[in-house]
């Protein structure tokens, strides 16, 4: 197979060093786990004169909870997410999504920030984080700006970062008591596979009434997306199987999937309904259990 084209490799130890390199060097790209980037470089789909390796920037690897907010450093690996009791307990949907990514080998290298910045419409961590209402901290030598996570995705395999910017953190409110979440993924097989579609749901109940509903789908549009029409159908209402059925049906109408090697658009549209219904039922049950 063709070798990886040559580049200069820079190995900063701190975030500020990394940002300065990113700012100063022409045609530079950050590399985190490399599980996507090295494949793209080898294929010639991406090129770079300089790679800035974030592997030594340990300050970007953390998972912590502060003031009812969970914060995750962008260079945190999927394996670190999986080992976190906080994530497993408070946001099982993110735990399940991380578990479904790649293989043990990929999860030991691949990072949350890399998965998001790679901006695949099928990225498994995107729907859970959209459903958790996550924000992204984006840093440059000029300072840090906070954007809604959805704004990070500009199109298939395109993120909205400006030159010199780096995703540094993902943060979202800790789901309160009475909430339930679910992550559902359909692939061509179970292990080491990209999603045909993936769905994440967050529900928060108050005395049987749905106070908040957030539904996000992946691989059904140019970017991972929320389903506001379906969410509105649920909010403020007493949940029922029928209502969930109707909301899942609304997702079928809202998605804009494509035909590709993994599935047809028609099949994805139908699965958007099936998996959303399944995710809503699952999250509803978990929310009720959480309320008891």
């Amino acid at each position: 197979m063709r070798p990886i084209p040559s580049f200069s490799l820079h190995r900063p130890k701190t975030l500020s060093e990394a940002l300065e390199l990113l700012q100063a060097l022409e045609d530079a790209r950050p590399i985190a786990g490399g599980t996507d980037l090295l494949v793209l470089l080898r294929d010639g789909a991406v090129s770079a004169k300089h790679l800035i390796d974030l592997g030594g920037v340990h300050e970007l690897q953390y998972i912590r909870e502060e003031n009812d907010e969970i914060r995750i450093g962008a260079a945190t690996t999927h394996a670190q997410l999986l080992r976190s009791e906080l994530i497993a307990e408070k946001t099982p949907l993110l735990h399940e999504a991380a578990a479904s990514i790649g293989s043990v080998q990929i999860r030991n290298r691949g990072t949350l920030g890399g998965n998001l910045c790679n901006a695949s419409p099928a990225a498994d961590t995107a729907p859970p984080l959209l459903a958790l209402n996550a924000e992204a901290a984006v840093a440059s030598t000029g300072g840090t700006r906070i954007i809604p996570l959805g704004d990070l995705f500009a199109g298939p395999k395109m993120n909205s970062l400006r030159p010199g910017e780096l995703l540094t953190e993902i943060r979202f409110p800790t789901p309160p008591a009475g909430s339930g979440t679910s992550f559902q993924k359909l692939g061509r097989r179970r292990g080491l596979t990209l999603a045909v579609i993936n769905v994440a749901v967050y529900l928060c109940l108050e005395g049987g009434v749905c106070r908040e509903a957030r539904i996000a789908l992946g691989a059904v549009a140019a970017t991972p997306i929320r389903m506001p029409a379906a969410e509105e159908m649920l909010e403020g209402r007493q949940l029922s199987g029928e209502l969930i059925e109707a909301a899942a049906s609304a997702c079928r109408d809202q998605v804009r999937p494509i035909d590709d090697i993994r599935a047809s658009a028609e099949y994805r549209r139908e699965m958007a309904y099936v998996l959303t219904r399944r995710a809503l039922m699952d999250a509803w049950e978990r929310a009720r259990r959480d309320t008891l």
Binding site: M1, P3, I4, P5, S6, F7, S8, L9, R11, I31, G33, G34, T35, L38, V39, R42, L51, D53, G55, A79, G102, S103, V104, Q105, I106, N108, R109, R190, G191, L192
Partner: protein
């Protein structure tokens, strides 16, 4: 770039271009041909090595990225009792056919049993989901890993 790292318990110092993968460094420069070159895309797991004890695809690691870290290949575990038990189980249980996937498979199994000495069948399947075998259909490999786990347990006083 000049890099220094620990390879199978010994300090190694060598020269590596930034675009050289750990796989090519180990196989071509250092002669460790137990590390197999398969897909070079992180799909097949034939090039699996342990990086600070955790399985990774060496085709997706740049050689300079192992600076200061510990790399373990099958060659470094020849006398390791857990690896010996796995090797014996793989041979006796008929888990090896062409053998190309076996070094990676053994390292994934080894990392699993180090962390989880009595895995369930599901846990074994998850541990080797990144290692493709085109011969065995996996059944005998899964059995051999379960078997090795049991043998190790039984040997303990």
């Amino acid at each position: 770039m000049r890099i220094t790292f620990e390879l199978n318990g010994k300090r190694v110092e060598c020269e590596a271009r930034p675009n050289k993968t750990l796989l090519d460094l180990l196989r071509a420069d250092l002669g460790l041909t137990s590390v197999k070159k398969g897909c070079e895309q992180g799909e097949c797991g034939a090039c699996t090595v342990l990086l600070d004890g955790a399985p990774v695809n060496s085709c997706l690691v740049l050689a300079p990225q192992v600076e200061g870290r510990a790399v373990t290949t099958l060659d470094g575990l020849v006398d390791d009792p857990l690896m010996a038990a796995l090797r014996k189980a793989f041979m006796e249980d008929g888990a090896i056919q062409c053998g190309f996937c076996i070094p990676g498979m053994l390292l994934s199994a080894y990392a699993l049993l180090r962390e989880n000495p009595r895995p369930t069948e599901e846990e074994v399947k998850t541990a080797i989901e990144g290692n493709i075998c085109r011969c065995t259909g996996y059944i005998k490999i899964i059995e051999a890993i379960m078997d090795a786990a049991e043998r190790i347990q039984n040997e303990r006083p």
